[in-house]
């Protein structure tokens, strides 16, 4: 099992294999995102309360989901890098952080636009908004640490410790902020006020979410491949691969 995994995660093998996957992943992401966008912007019915403006949900909710998913992915990769010294996991953790930060920024920006329209304000210190903002800072801290340490192995180990400390803290931050907020003001208008969604709105949302996920997979692989080339640039196989 371990032998199989270490062969699977060996960098040359991974580099070649992922090169074959990437075109398929891009195609799938593009297809899902096009279908989801048409479904969300054209086919889905108008919301009776929020009118057309609610349609930003089809970008906002998937990016918020991805903001959390990517951190979990990063922490999982960090854990395997830390425990088993898997080089591939180190690389995946490192390259997924900027993508996660981008999803988080997108969730914050779209949320802010939506809020400007619906709540008449760009920002409220609502529990959900605040904990996403803090998550954004956690991503930026991870990236700053990676950028500050030149030696990649040391950067990976330091980043792994930080990501794992962060993962323990995320629930604490989330619940503390929730408590802080409920003390000061009542629940703000939340999109989960309407408990269930009609299927006409749900399927474009799920399609978009899947599209975001596949996009993430493709982007992570592209970034990981260039990171592999940079790290292993003095190795024979990289010189051969590039010369080909």
């Amino acid at each position: 099992m371990i032998a199989f995994f270490s062969r699977w995660a060996s960098l040359p093998a991974f580099y070649r294999r992922s090169g074959r996957w990437i075109p398929w992943l891009w195609a799938a992401a593009a297809g899902l995102l096009v279908v989801g966008t048409v479904g969300g912007l054209v086919l889905a019915p108008v919301d009776y309360q929020q009118g057309e403006a609610y349609r930003i949900l089809f970008v906002h909710v998937p990016s918020a989901w991805m903001a959390m998913f990517v951190y979990m992915f990063m922490a999982g990769a960090s854990a395997s890098a830390f425990i088993w010294h898997v080089k591939l996991a180190e690389i995946l953790a490192r390259v997924s952080a900027p993508l996660g930060a981008a999803f988080t920024a997108l969730a914050l920006a779209t949320g802010s636009l939506w809020g400007a329209r619906m709540w008449n304000t760009w920002w409220v210190w609502d529990a959900r908004l605040t904990s996403v903002l803090l998550l954004f800072f956690l991503y930026l801290g991870f990236m700053a640490l990676q950028a500050a340490i030149e030696d990649r192995r040391r950067a990976a180990r330091a980043g792994a410790v930080l990501a794992l400390v962060g993962v323990v803290n995320i629930p604490i931050i989330h619940y503390s902020v929730e408590w802080w907020n409920t003390l000061h003001q009542g629940a703000t208008v939340s999109k989960f006020d309407n408990p269930s969604m009609t299927w006409d709105m749900l399927w474009p949302l799920l399609t978009m979410a899947l599209g975001f996920m596949v996009y993430f997979a493709a982007a992570v692989l592209v970034r990981a491949r260039s990171e592999i080339l940079e790290r292993e640039r003095h190795r024979r196989w990289v010189i051969d691969e590039v010369a080909r």
């Binding site: 830390f82 803090l134 998550l135 800072f137 956690l138 930026l140 801290g141 700053a144 640490l145 500050a148 340490i149 030696d151 192995r153 040391r154 180990r157 330091a158 792994a160 410790v161 930080l162 794992l164 400390v165 962060g166 323990v168 803290n169 604490i172 931050i173 503390s176 902020v177 408590w179 802080w180 003390l183």
Partner: protein, 221 residues
């Protein structure tokens, strides 16, 4: 025994450099006295925002004092000897963190009542503020030690430490300042103290392990 030796040594080193010992306290007092200058001297306003100001000031003072936690030991190599010793690194590290709290956290606590008077805080708010800081500042020192260990020997580590730590400090700030806010509204305070205590208990058990791992990562062993 080794734990006591490390604690004693760190305390002794701090006491022999009394000048440095005062810096966090002076910084704390200066930051807190900047706020009335910025916000205006209205006593009612200061009474309502005062506890938050004290908390943010204590948090920043802890942040800035953290940089020196391992620096001297890193530079003269005794940190490596500490990690090479037969005793578990996490236990020895916990002694260093405790020493750090005793020489920075405790002085901050001691000056808090004075700052509270400057901000017109009521005796009740003063007491709750003090209790919250007593439970909260050790957590800050503990969490901080991880970030310091991660950034050991890096240029401009101080700013990086702040970037890493500020989101992690958020819960302590929420519960600590929340306790005072709750007391001012004559609502129960204990839940906040329980949460601060729970965070401290979690940090005491987990953080020394993480800091030891971070030190190993930074020293490349």
């Amino acid at each position: 025994m080794a734990w006591w030796a490390v604690l004693r040594r760190d305390l002794l080193l701090s006491v022999r450099r009394l000048g440095e010992l005062g810096n966090p306290v002076v910084f704390f007092a200066a930051v807190v006295s900047l706020f009335p200058l910025a916000l205006g001297a209205d006593a009612a306003l200061l009474r309502s925002v005062g506890p938050g100001i004290v908390w943010v000031g204590a948090l920043l003072a802890t942040l800035l004092s953290l940089e020196g936690l391992f620096r001297a030991d890193f530079e003269d190599g005794s940190l490596e000897q500490l990690l090479l010793s037969p005793h578990p690194a996490s236990v020895l590290v916990s002694a260093k963190i405790l020493a750090h709290w005793l020489v920075t956290g405790v002085p901050l606590l001691l000056i808090t009542p004075l700052l509270g008077v400057l901000l017109n805080l009521s005796p009740l708010a003063q007491g709750v503020l003090f209790g919250g800081l007593l439970l909260g500042t050790p957590t800050l020192s503990l969490l901080g030690s991880v970030a310091v260990a991660l950034t050991l020997g890096l240029p401009r580590g101080g700013l990086l430490i702040s970037v890493l730590l500020l989101p992690l400090f958020a819960p302590v700030l929420v519960f600590g300042a929340g306790a005072v806010g709750s007391a001012l509204l004559e609502m129960p305070v204990l839940p906040y103290f329980y949460m601060l205590g729970a965070e401290l208990a979690l940090a005491v058990t987990v953080v020394p392990l993480a800091t030891a791992a971070a030190l190993r990562a930074s020293l490349g062993s």
